[in-house]
Amino acid sequence: MKHAFPILGVLTALLLSYALYGALIKAPTEQTMGDVQRIFYYHVPSAWTAFILFFINFGASVVYLIKRRPAADIVALVSAEVGVVFCTVVLITGPIWARPVWGIWWTWDMRLTSTLVLWLIYVSYLFLRRFSSSGQTPLLAAALAVLGALCVPFVYFSIWFFRTQHPQPVMGGGGSIDPRMLHVLLINWLAFSCFAFLVCWSRYRLEKLQRDVDQAHALESLLDPRGSVR
């Protein structure tokens, strides 16, 4: 178990390198968009990873609301934070791809707007966690997370229900994709999922340590006869 993290780290680095090779060299060039279409191999896996992390945040928040387990609260916080990082990647790589293909950086269509709203919800969640000092913060954050999670399926299915400039989904959208492209896409998704898992793991350990230190500080100030806090 002690060596699990470095071993997983090395494997993930190898997988990410192979995924990058696949995205830039192995995958065939798309006929209409050319090389710029390769942004797809970073944009789409980042979006899927963000969605999964937001669902983990939802599950952990529900567990916290029911059982009040601190570990569930930490999982919720960590998954939201890493999810926001991946969602930021989606919101930046999307416009970079859109500019040469659509001729514009951004359009207020349903997919793009709902993704921005989703990002804002989870950024608000993180602000709430960071700046509220109330003892009820984890509870309020868990309630916000449950509401935020409702937005995730809306973002995913928005391109089915509304007319939008955004392309149809790769999976289950009725379109077709070259098997070599699909292979590279799935490799990139696997690589980014492993990377997200490792980051979440590190962040979980950090948060747990932070809480232990905060508890030690609180105990120390209680035991101090002068009651002074540095």
Partner: protein, 48 residues
């Protein structure tokens, strides 16, 4: 495929890794700050 020939592709990949590296560096700096705090807590008789 020449990445330098497509500035948009290069920008998208570079931005992705810059975001991840910046986030990872915040985790590392928070971890080292916490380690210093733990060392301080372990010092005997600091407050006496």
């Amino acid at each position: 495929m020449k990445m330098s020939g497509n500035p948009y592709l290069f920008a998208a990949y570079a931005v992705t890794w810059i975001i991840h590296i910046v986030y990872l560096s915040t985790i590392v700096s928070r971890y080292s700050r916490l380690k210093r705090e733990i060392e301080e807590l372990k010092k005997p008789g600091v407050r006496s």
